[in-house]
Symmetry: C5
Subunit: 360 residues, 5 copies
């Protein structure tokens, strides 16, 4: 089962236990042979250049113009690339460690000259029916934004497309606005998850009413686990965005804050929906448990009533099967039909009684 | 089932994922062909004019007198109308986006020159037995109030009637008092829902005691879902009104605040009632589960006792049906009556035993 | 069932939906023909006068001496009387509306020249086994206290008696001390409820152990509902008294605050007891559910064991009832006694087995 | 059952309902004829005198030297003694009322010239298996400490012994240090309770695994009630000690606060343990419910399987007991052995089937 | 069972009840004959000396250079050693008492000249399947750190190794950085526990789906208890590290705080994981309970259906076993085959009915 997702980070983490802080060792799942694509966007309101670099070092020193440089890595398993960036931008060793240790909880840390933002990008895999979670980290400086994805993905593509098409607000905005745009893309992904979860819930409700099975129960349990995972991603992210909103760092311009407030609203909507879904799941569990037990009990009741009908009849047949020598009924010519008469009367009386009691 | 109501907004939301913020795209259910009625009230203490406009642009520029202009749209699916108002009043693009994205959580945002208030109007549909939720948005400026309903409805009619009849406090009050009156009307609608929910609960309690069925359980579950929906509408609204109460914006006059406090009390009453109902539902669930299981068990017990009575009798009949050659009882002339005597004795003894044990 | 008590206020409330705020319309249960007694106490340390008035207007203007005037109405269903007081003391229209809308949540509102306090008086009706809830409202000014009861009652009589008997602290105190005394009387009433609830719980625990029935379960559910009602009365009252304690209004003298702290302690004691009772009820529910199921299962087990004993014997009797021509045992002279011997052996072996396994 | 302990205070309390505040009436259980021992310790670093007084009045006026006077009463049912102390030390009437109303919740009240501290001393009675709760009240002045126990007891004896043996810190400390020492003794008593509860839990866990009975369930319920009682004593006490810690009263010297912090830690440990025990009890309940139901179901399953084995055999015997004239098998010489052969085959096949399905 | 672990500290604690505060008496499990190893590291950026001392007194007075002295004791059961350190460093008596009373809750106390930090080191014992908990205490002064382990262990070895290998940050840092390193090692141990718990959960989930037994339930209960223990260790530790982070003590350099923030994040991750695991356990319990009941019910249903099939057949055989003289069917030559025909028809009809109803 996929519980490994919940604990694997922890397992890996402990392998490094005792190492000094700041030791760079990649703790994720990616094979280190997988290549990492390094892309560099440099833009301001008028110009835009887009390059794919062999390694991050080529990006430095950052030019004075155009104003904003966005360096993106779609993998963090090659530690030397991370170190290049760390040297070029004088990043704190603990920050670098957090970059490659891809099991971070979403957080925001203000290092003065730059902000460090960690979020988690979620992806619902309908095949294996679980949520894949990937770390996204942003380093936001005055003139640059460096973003680190754990795996290659296309969630940032819409932002790239808007950059190329010259979307004015994005091109005019600084790296903080770009950071907002990326976080917004991440949060939009959560809505996508909720949509798919919503469909799974609709299916489960359908199943619950028509033909609940042990599968349904496991489906409810699985959803519960997914909601735990989602909550673990969204709740701290809400705090992250809230602290960006109320940050006094001058790296966040006040004109960007109104947009951050919008993302903040979205995270609250998601938290809200997750809580509602948890409530619903609890209710569905009650219906499931009661439903399966009722269904079975109904069967048992019908069978028991049926059996009970025959109990006195079988006794009666047993009685007339006795071998007493002095047994007057056996000699009556109407004995046998009488037996059937009595049997029918008993059966019908019992049926009437059961029906009157509302047992059938 | 109507869970779609809970997730459909989300689905729609994700379709737009990746679009730049501020893109206006209607995300509600209304067919875009449905006409939108635009009404304009302009009034002060002495005068009142009421007009239906072809489009909002006709309302601008707002006259200096009479003081208060109330522009109402009973639909937000024609994006160009929204944009007209946005241009005329210089509204922030994110605000316009929130207007047409009709799945907002209730919130209040202070843009300095105007306040933006979102609430949700609820309507209980007894047919389909669920709560229909509609977004209501208010833009409150110094001399105007613009209100946006998602669907045509009559919840604001009492306010219109009071305006026409010249209710002094309303006519003397500014747009902030008008905003209060509209919010009050929305909250009064929640009481209406609670009333109907109260009747459903009374029915369910009745059913629980007299003849609980699987239907009853589903009724409890459905109510639980409605309470989730109600809570999602009321809790944030309480915060909205609270922040209006403590707002330092000069758009809210202090004389209006005492009225807002009154609405605030109402939202607390509703929150309170919702919580109580949730508690009651939990209790009803316990009774249901215990009741159905007891009812069935009672039946099974009676049937089992009945069967058990016949077990030894049937055995006895079997014994006297055996074909042993040397079988003295079979030859006794009183054998057969004796059999009945023993049978009766056994049955009565067992009955007495069961009764003494309190099993019947 | 009495759930109506919980929702009826709400129903009534919605009938008025849409009316402008400040419209006076009585929303309680009392028939409007029932007379209202208006009593006026005027006292200071030396003098005391006590009068019954035809209508409240007679009380005004309030004399300069004696210092304290206490006007009490034991009903609020005659709106014109309320309006007389409102005019005489210049009370805010919303306050008057709250007076006649007798479903208020306990609250304290500071209108500057006077404080408005709402509490709920509870009364346990052992016949119908539910808590009757009545609104009590106090308007506390510098020289007067006006109190409004929803129904005639005797809960304030001890306070009247102490006034007449010249209790020094009460006679020396101002209207704030009088308000304290009335609130204290209300809270003392809650202890009375708890006492009766305690007896019901003792009975239920007794029943649970000796002979739990479906009645017991309904009793637990009913108590749960009563606790919800009690909590709804006490929790907000605690906040009311707390805000009186920390009020900066000069209408509350600091010498009175030490007494308010005492009432505050009492409300905390009650909240505490209510929470404990809720915990106990949950535990009782567990015992009930487990107990009834155990009891029934015990019966079923005994019956099943009994039936099982006869199963092989009946089979054996069936075997010797077969009509095979070549059937040696049937011809043995000791066949029949042997049958009984075998039967007894089987039955005793099974009994021993059951006993050894601890099934009996 | 002992629920009375939880409600009896309440009942008693209500008997006094309506009495003016400050009326002294003893509300505890002790017979008023039981004598009260009044002891007076007077000590400083160098001297110590210890006396038993006929009545508290003898202690006053307090001498200037030695510095600290500790007056202890081991009963509060003789109201006149309380009043003597109240007069001598000018205590507030409400304080006196709280002294004799022995159902107070732990609290700390700062009256300026003295502090009033109420705690509850708990005692586990293994016979009646419940916790006996007794009120302990301290009045802490600049040069004196007056302590009131509800019943005679020996929990303060270790403190007395340390005084007599000249424990330096205690003898050097002021009345505040003495108050700390007494509270510490009270809290140490809670650890004693927890220890005994721990043993009961170990017994219950043992029972749960080996032979759970309805008794076990009642034991769990009883413990749950004890935990409620313990929590009601400890939680407010934690707040009391916390407010002593942060009190700005000059009656508490800062050198004493480090000791109070120690007691505070102990109360947190106890709260912690109580919460853990509640969690454990919930888990034990689940095991109990599942265990008893499993146990019974196991029995039913075995019995049912046994019965089912005989069903087809009995039918077969019935078949060969039929009296058809043309019934070839009956005439075969090997008919009877064949019957046994078929029967055995059927039974073994069924057994094999059950076993393969894992039902046995 | 190992509940003793939860209560034994408490039991021991109470043995000392009534003793004056500051009395040193060891309350742990270790036999007092077990030797204690005292090690002293003295280092700065350039030098490092490492010694094993016969007793702590040899370490004092601390040299001026190298700057940092780290004294470690791997046992606290020899009270005289503790007292030596207490005298040498002028530690508060309560602190010494906490050192030897090894059941402290994690806490941080600022004594001005030094900080006192208590944490709990956890160790999962797969044999006995429980978490062993050991107290770790740190006394952090300006130039020294004294650490006290309850039992010898190797959790600090990686830190020692880093010291010896000259890890620059550790060698350059002060005693506060060393304290951080030790706390980090402790917290890393918690991840190790979570990893093992994760494996146990995976096993339990496996069991739940394939073959749940009463063992599985006890496994769930045991894990629940472990989670309680883990929570009791981690939650207060989180507060400890938080108060170190926000401490204004100059013993914590601001350069160290960024590292403490890292440990703080780890504790939050652990708290998070513990809460998630508790949620999962609740879900697993539901599946277990439903699963076992379903499994059994399934068996009962199959057996009951099987029995029911034979009920009418057995009756029929009984009928034709009756001995009526006038019984036409018995004389028909096709009577016996007809009986089998009817029987088969009845059985097949019933089977078809059951199948159509979905009962099989």
């Amino acid at each position: 089962m996929q519980f490994t997702r919940l604990v694997s980070p922890i397992r890996k983490r402990s392998e490094k236990a005792g190492a000094p802080p700041g030791t760079l060792a990649y703790l994720g799942d990616a094979p280190t042979t997988q290549p990492i694509t390094v892309t560099l966007f440099q833009y301001d309101e008028r110009e835009l250049s887009e390059r794919t670099l062999a390694e991050p070092a080529e990006a430095f020193p950052l030019p004075e113009e155009p104003t904003v440089s966005w360096l993106n890595l779609d993998g963090v398993h090659r530690v030397e690339l991370i170190e290049q960036i760390g040297r070029a931008l004088s990043l704190h060793p603990l920050l670098l460690e957090d970059l490659v240790n891809t099991q971070q909880r979403p957080k925001m840390e203000d290092y003065g000259a730059y902000l460090f933002i960690v979020a988690r990008m979620l992806d619902y895999d309908p095949e294996r029916r679980h949520i894949h979670s990937e770390q996204v980290a942003l380093v936001l400086g005055r003139e640059y934004l460096v973003s680190f994805e754990e795996d290659p993905g296309d969630v940032f593509n819409p932002v790239r497309a808007r950059l190329r098409s010259g979307a004015p607000r994005l091109r005019k905005g600084g790296p903080d606005y770009l950071a907002y745009a990326l976080l917004d893309a991440v949060v939009d992904g959560y809505f996508h998850i909720l949509e798919q979860v919503g469909e799974v819930i609709a299916d489960l409700e359908e199943e619950l009413v028509s033909h609940p099975t042990q599968e349904t129960l496991q489906g409810i349990y699985r959803l519960k686990r997914e909601m735990i995972a989602l909550r673990r991603a969204v709740w701290p992210l809400r705090d992250v965005i809230n602290s960006l909103l109320h940050s006094e760092s001058e790296l966040i311009q006040s004109s960007t804050k109104v947009y951050l407030r919008d993302v903040y609203d979205h995270t609250i909507q998601i938290v809200d929906a997750v809580e509602s879904i948890r409530d619903l799941l609890a209710g569905m569990l009650d219906i499931y448990l009661s439903g399966t037990s009722n269904r079975l009990n109904e069967i048992m009741k019908v069978l028991t009533i049926f059996s009970t009908l025959f109990i006195p009849l079988t006794f009666l047949a047993g009685v007339y099967g006795m071998n007493f020598e002095y047994f007057p009924e056996l000699k009556w010519w109407f004995g046998y039909p009488m037996f059937w008469g009595i049997s029918l009367t008993i059966a019908l009386t019992m049926l009437a009684f059961f029906r009157r009691r509302g047992w059938m």
